[in-house]
Each structure stands twice: as C-alpha cells, then as structure tokens.
Amino acid sequence: MGRITLDKVTKKFGEVEVIPPLDLTIEDGEFVVFVGPSGCGKSTLLRLIAGLEDVSSGHIQIDGRDATEVPPAKRGLAMVFQSYALYPHMSVRKNIAFPLRMAGLSKDEQDKRVSGAAEVLNLTAYLDRRPGQLSGGQRQRVAIGRAIVREPAAFLFDEPLSNLDAALRVGMRLEISELHKRLETTMIYVTHDQVEAMTMADKIVVLRAGNIEQVGSPLELYQSPRNTFVAGFIGSPRMNLIEGAEAAKHDATTIGIRPEHIAISPTEGTWQGKVGVSEHLGSDTFFHVTGTGLADAITVRAGGEVSLRYGDTIYLTPEEGKLHRFDAKGLRI
C-alpha cells in the first residue's frame, strides 16, 4: 500500500520559495518519475515526501493518513540516495540489516530478510565485504537492498544512477524496472535524465522552478506536450521549435516538430537548407540543418546510411499531423 497525496504543499528556504503550492497524487504501485532541469525542485519535493525537509505549508498524506508531521522513519518509506550513503564501516550484511536492527527485529528474522534481499539482488557472494570493496553497480544494489528489507510502502530514488557509467546505467535501469514489476510497490524516482524518465516511468511529472508543467504517461508527454517547455524537454534529440512567419502560417506563435517526424530529400521538399554537423550513430544519423531561415539549426533524423555531406543542399518535409502548435504563452493549441 503506498498511495501518496500532496495537498497544496509549499517549501520556502528563508525568503526563497522553492516549491509554490503543489498538488499531486501518486497511486499505489505506480512508478512515478520526477524529471526536470537541475534546480527545478525535484529533489526537494522528494525530500519533502521523505520527511527529510519539513513542508512550509500544505499536507502530505500517505495511505490516507496525514503524514505531514510524522518523522521520516515512521512514514514507512525507504530512500536510495545519489551517493548511495552506505555505512562504510559496516559489512554489506550489516548495511542491509541496519534498518531491521533499528526496528528491533530478532536476529533470525534479520538474517532471513537479508539473505532474501541478497538473493534478489545477486549480492549473496558479497555479504561479508565492506562497501569500499564493491564496484559502483554493486554499491547501488546494496543501497537498494537496504531499502527492500524494510518492506516499505514506497521507494524513493534520488538520482540513483547518476554516478554510474553509461553501460552500467542501462543495466541498472532495467534492474530497477524489473524490481518494480516484481514488488509492485510504489516507486518515486528523481532524475534530470529524460531518457531514464521515458524508459522507466508509468507516470512522468515534469517540473520547472517547483511548478508541475505536466503529468502523464511517457507517450502522452511525447505525443501531446502541454507547452513548449515539456515539448523541448521530453524526447531525444530535442524537438525543433520554430517561431515567426512559418509558425504564423499554422496560426500559432511557435510550432514544434520532432527530428524523427521530418522527411528528407536531396531534391525537393517544403523547407530548404544546408547540411551542417552530422552525428552518425549507426542505426540513425542526425543532421543539423542550417540556413533554413526558420531557426538556427533544425535537427532531423535520417536512416543509418545516408550519403549527404557537410554543405550539401537538403530539403525537409514535416510529416503531416505531427506538427505541434503552441500559442503566445507557450501553451499547446
């Protein structure tokens, strides 16, 4: 059970309002990702839910119970920190058992739960090592193990993969997703990486300056971003945002088109430009097209093997119906 409701929650540090009044409901068993650029208040929001920071006003409910004034340990939430925050002087076994020991569980029960968690996370062989003797991915798993054994109502992850190298990050992403499928516990995950958000989330919460810009499933956010901020933030590479005369043709202040929704041709098309820098990824090639008169550069996706070179003329045609239109306030039309 882990339904979390935020009701007009605000947070001020001195005079600075980091989180303006904010409402959010997280359903039981959901994998929710808070995503946004750094400094957008996503970590603060997570810490408010955890109880590590006190709210300035508003209420937090966990399982229908008002938890606003409840100390962190009593909220039934477990947190995985960015630095893992393992206890360096304790073995892996003692690290994982620490919350159980604090809860006063019997030695047998502790051992049972620790070995259970170790098995799930492939840590059995490392139980007697110290955190200092483990690799980054293993430390990450120990931190998750320490969270699992408490059987919490919800897991809170604070940018847990940002200290891992790219290959390991992909692996851990899968492991955490699998863990969520198996445990079916509510998970709240904070990241600045929209790829993590898109791949893992049931529901994404896009934040900017403490405000919720949009809440929705990854595909909803991808297909119908509510405003230009979400449009530019979700999707990789970024959506092309075009203002001016071309936008006016579509009765909008800004129009957006994703790189994957533009057809290219060396001979004919709607827009004409020159090929700038190109990025070859093998499966895809991204061209930065300049000189279109629409924006500084338009990014387009082409198939893996395209024989256009730097300086060649290129024609672009946006796919019908994939154009996003935004008004003067940046809101979707």
Partner: protein, 292 residues
C-alpha cells in the same frame, strides 16, 4: 631518465635536512646511552676531561630499584590516561556542538582553539594562582560562596589538578581534529540512517562515532607522545611533590637535583623504551584503522 635525474636531485636537496635531523636526534641519543653506562657525578669532581668510570648496568639497576621508580610510572600512566579520556570525550562533545550552525561560529572556534597558544608554563601558573589557590583562587571563592571549605587543589588534589590543567591545554587540539573529521561526514549517511529509523543518539553511536574512530586514534597517538613528556605544568605547580612525580620529572630530579648524570641518563633510556613501546602499539592500531 628524467625521473632518475630528478630523484637524485631530490635526494641531494633533502640531504641537509635529513642529516641535520639525524644529528639532532643521534647526538643526544648516543650521549645519553654513553652516560648511562658511566659514573658521572659532577659535584664529586667527575668530568668528561678526566675520563669517566665504566659501571656497566649499575645505573640501570639503581634506577629501577629506587623506591620512586614504580610510583613515577604509575603517575605517568594516570596523567596520560586521564588527560586522554578527558580530551577525547569532551573533544568529541565540543566538536559535535561546534559543528552545529550558530551565530558567531568563527569567533567561537578561535576562542576554543586559544588555550593551545598559551605556553605550558604560563597556563600552569595561571591555573595554580588564579583558579586553584586556596585563599585567592576563583575556585576558593566559589566554594566559600556555597559555604564549603576551600580546597587547596595543588596539594590536596594534586593529580586531579595536573590532569585538569593539561587537559585544558590539549582539549583544543582534540576538538580541532575531531571537528574536521565530523565535517567530512557525508550528510546523506546521516539522512539514510534517519530514514532507516535510527534516532539521534543511535545515529551518533552507529554512524558518527565509527566515522570518528580514525581521528580519535590519531588524537590518542599524537597526544600520548607529547603527554609522556609533560614537564612545565608539574614544575610550576607541585614541583614533583604530592605524588605527581612522573618518569620525566624523576629523570630531571636525578640529573639536576641529585646531580647524577649517569643515573638520569639510564632513566632517559627507559623513557625512550617506554615511548617506543607505546608508539609501536599505537602505530599498529592506526595501521589497522587505515586498512579499513
């Protein structure tokens, strides 16, 4: 090639310092060893010029069989141990307090460190005359204010008084080292422990103290080496009376008050051995801690 050249150059440039330090240490050490095997009583007309008589291990035997020897060892250990306990406990406490955000942190920290800048002789005299004097001392006034009979600290509570003075001098050192250690603790660890259900005292015991253990060993190691040789505080307060004669003080008395250089030198060699035993013992603890 470059590294070999620079290594040779580095050796050459370090040589003067190394030779100076070696000489500084070796000359007194060898002289002490030499005198310890000789009969050398300057007041009876012995002198280096006339040549000294070889007496074998007689000085060593006399030093340990003297009735003052074992009490002096005992007093040394009590003072060193007492000061260590007081400075480490209070130092940890002060470090935790100083780590809290508060108004005027900079000034408070300088005040806490200041006793370290007072010379031992001066602080011994200040404590003896300003605080512990049985007629004019502040403690005497305080005791009288509560209607109690003033205590003549230096003579009645002599060991306690010296431990108090020396602890006051060394508390800043312990506090400073422990404070920097506390500041290096990752705050996420404390938050993780808080989430794990550990209340403040348990967080202190399970997270902060283990984190401090290395700093505490270093404080103990460094202080022990300096505390074994405290002298000025005893000299200006009790002058070795009232059961405050440490090994260092006994050696001083043998050489300068009894004018028996040979006997004092033998005591000096014992002190060297004692200090080395302590050092080896502590090095091993530190080594073990550094492995972790």
């Amino acid at each position: 090639m470059a590294t070999q050249h620079s290594r040779a150059a580095a050796r050459l440039m370090m040589a003067p310092a190394v030779i100076l330090l070696l000489g500084w240490m070796l000359v007194p050490l060898i002289l002490t060893l030499y005198f310890s095997f000789k009969r050398y009583l300057p007041l009876r007309g012995d002198s280096l010029g006339k040549g000294l008589d070889w007496v074998g291990f007689q000085n060593y035997a006399r030093f340990v069989t003297s009735s003052s020897f074992w009490p002096s060892i005992q007093v040394t250990l009590i003072i060193v141990g007492g000061v260590l306990v007081v400075t480490v406990l209070l130092g940890t406490l002060l470090a935790v307090l100083l780590d809290q955000p508060m108004w005027g942190t900079g000034i408070v920290r300088i005040l806490v460190i200041s006793p370290f800048f007072v010379m031992p002789t001066v602080s011994g005299l200040v404590w003896k005359n300003m605080f512990m004097d049985s007629t004019n001392g502040l403690f005497a006034h305080l005791w009288r204010a509560f209607g109690a009979a003033p205590v003549d600290w230096v003579s009645q509570q002599s060991l306690f008084s010296i431990i108090l003075i020396v602890s006051w001098e060394w508390l800043p050192f312990a506090t400073l080292i422990l404070l920097t250690a506390i500041q290096s603790l990752d705050s996420e660890q404390l938050e993780a422990a808080e989430m794990d259900g550990a209340p403040a005292l348990k967080r202190f015991w399970f997270i902060v103290i283990p984190h401090l253990s290395r700093a505490i060993t270093i404080v103990i190691l460094i202080q022990t080496i300096f505390l074994l040789s405290i002298f000025a505080e005893i000299y200006v307060t009790t002058a070795g009376a009232f059961g405050t004669k440490t090994l260092t003080y006994l050696i001083f008395q043998r050489v300068l008050e009894s004018q028996n250089v040979g006997l004092g030198s033998a005591g000096g060699v014992y002190a060297i051995i004692l200090a080395n035993i302590v050092a080896i013992f502590l090095m091993r603890i530190v080594g073990k801690n550094l492995d972790a």
